[in-house]
């Protein structure tokens, strides 16, 4: 019996599934594989290095979500230089970073922006708010990405072999279901937009299995209490007015066309990359690190030769291990011992 391979696009799903032990309840015919929807995991090393260089500049306050603080760059993480005295602050919201900028007019406050379509609109709204409040010491280092081009890359790849996609519920609150419809039709793969409770996930998998077994390539909104077909138009409008789409580097996947976001020229005064011109070394994937294959669902963490040996949460080699949503972190934390 051929296995039904379903991709959990979103890191939040990977973690929720691991935490609830759901896999053990599923029939053997279903194989769940991880996807690229972990913003921390796909942030290239260069981006971390740039953030660290900026954080080291005198007078700079570097603000970031908690997720980023332990991700390794080419020489340590933000947490490491924090211990050495760099002013690095964990924030819950991009707006908190703006408040810090207002309260510290003599300092330059940089926000390390990481995330997908759920998060990037909040950064866009913050830039508009910064402009309104006339704050001139607030900057964004944008590493925001768009998930659909990565899904395209995976659907096109022969190695990935995905039968259906468990799609991220909260990204979809913003995007609506229309982008998935184009994707599903083009690649002939069904998609179910799924929420994050245990029941939501089981329901999403059930729907997806039915679609796969019937050879359908439809899109279903399983998470219909939160996701509407048209999504959040205002959020997308704000996003499009502040950011433009660029080609961007995905750790482990390489360069993907029109998959990243940078600030538009009219908001250049908020662009951290333009304000601080720093040089960082070219990213190199560490020897033996299989994060790239893991986020495409080609390999499972246990198939990486560094897993649990050279690469652990305490001493991570790749971001999949240190990210709170990383596939390797989930496997290591919840499933390494049989």
């Amino acid at each position: 019996m051929k296995k039904i391979r379903l991709m959990e696009v979103c890191g939040t799903h990977t973690m929720a599934i691991a935490r609830s032990g759901l896999k053990r309840l599923l029939p053997d015919e279903i194989e769940l594989i991880s996807g690229p929807g972990c913003p921390v995991c796909v942030t290239p090393q260069e981006a971390i290095d740039r953030g660290m260089k900026l954080a080291g500049i005198s007078g700079v306050i570097m603000t970031t979500f908690g997720d980023m603080i332990r991700v390794p760059g080419s020489g340590g993480s933000l947490d490491d230089i924090k211990k050495d005295g760099a002013d690095i602050r964990v924030v819950y919201s991009c707006l908190d970073a703006l408040d810090i900028a207002e309260r510290n007019p003599s300092r330059k406050v940089v926000f390390m922006g990481v995330g997908f379509e759920t998060t990037s609109p909040t950064a866009a709204a913050t830039v508009l708010e910064a402009k309104r409040r006339k704050v001139d010491n607030f900057f964004i280092l944008s590493n925001f990405k768009v998930i659909f081009p990565a899904l395209e890359a995976i659907a096109r790849s022969k190695k990935a072999r995905v039968d259906g996609f468990i799609c991220p519920g909260h990204v979809s609150v913003i995007t609506g279901s229309v982008p998935y419809e184009r994707f599903a039709e083009k690649h002939k793969k069904p998609c179910v937009i799924t929420g994050f409770g245990d029941d939501d996930i089981l329901d999403g998998i059930r729907r997806l299995v039915v679609l796969v077994r019937s050879g359908s390539s439809s899109v279903e909104i399983g998470y219909d209490r939160a996701v509407k077909k048209r999504g959040n138009i205002r959020a997308r409008h704000i996003l499009e007015s502040v950011f433009r789409t660029v080609d961007s580097e995905w750790r482990g996947l390489g360069k993907i066309k029109k998959s990243g976001l940078k600030l538009k020229n009219e908001y250049a005064s908020f662009d951290g990359e333009k304000e601080f011109k720093v040089k960082v070394p070219r990213s190199l994937l560490p020897e033996g690190c299989a994060c790239g294959e893991i986020i495409q669902g080609i390999l499972s963490p246990r198939e990486c030769r560094l897993f649990g040996k050279g690469c652990t949460p305490r001493k991570p080699v790749g971001p999949c291990m240190v990210s709170s949503e990383g596939t390797c972190a989930a496997y290591y934390k919840y499933g390494r011992r049989k």
Binding site: T12, L25, L26, C38, T119, T122, I147, H170, R234, A235
Partner: protein, 76 residues
């Protein structure tokens, strides 16, 4: 990538709202969401309301699992 939590809108201000997550209150931005009223339930992500959300229906987990197993084994 998607940590968003439901909350009830308690009061509104210009561009912001005070919401209750259930014993935990916070001021959040309405910068990316239109049409929010007092009493609405919204999903909050990184300090912003990103969308409205309805009540989760309780499902019989065992039934869902059984349906899943049946769907897998169903002959085409």
């Amino acid at each position: 990538m998607c940590l968003a939590v439901p909350a009830r809108v308690e009061s509104l201000g210009k561009g912001y709202a005070y919401v209750d997550f259930g014993g935990v209150r916070k001021k959040i931005s309405l910068g990316v969401l239109n049409g929010v009223k007092k009493g609405d339930h919204v999903l909050v992500h990184a300090g912003f309301a990103i969308g409205k959300v309805g009540r989760a229906e309780a499902e019989d987990t065992l039934k869902v699992l059984q349906d899943l197993k049946d769907a897998v084994r169903e002959d085409l």
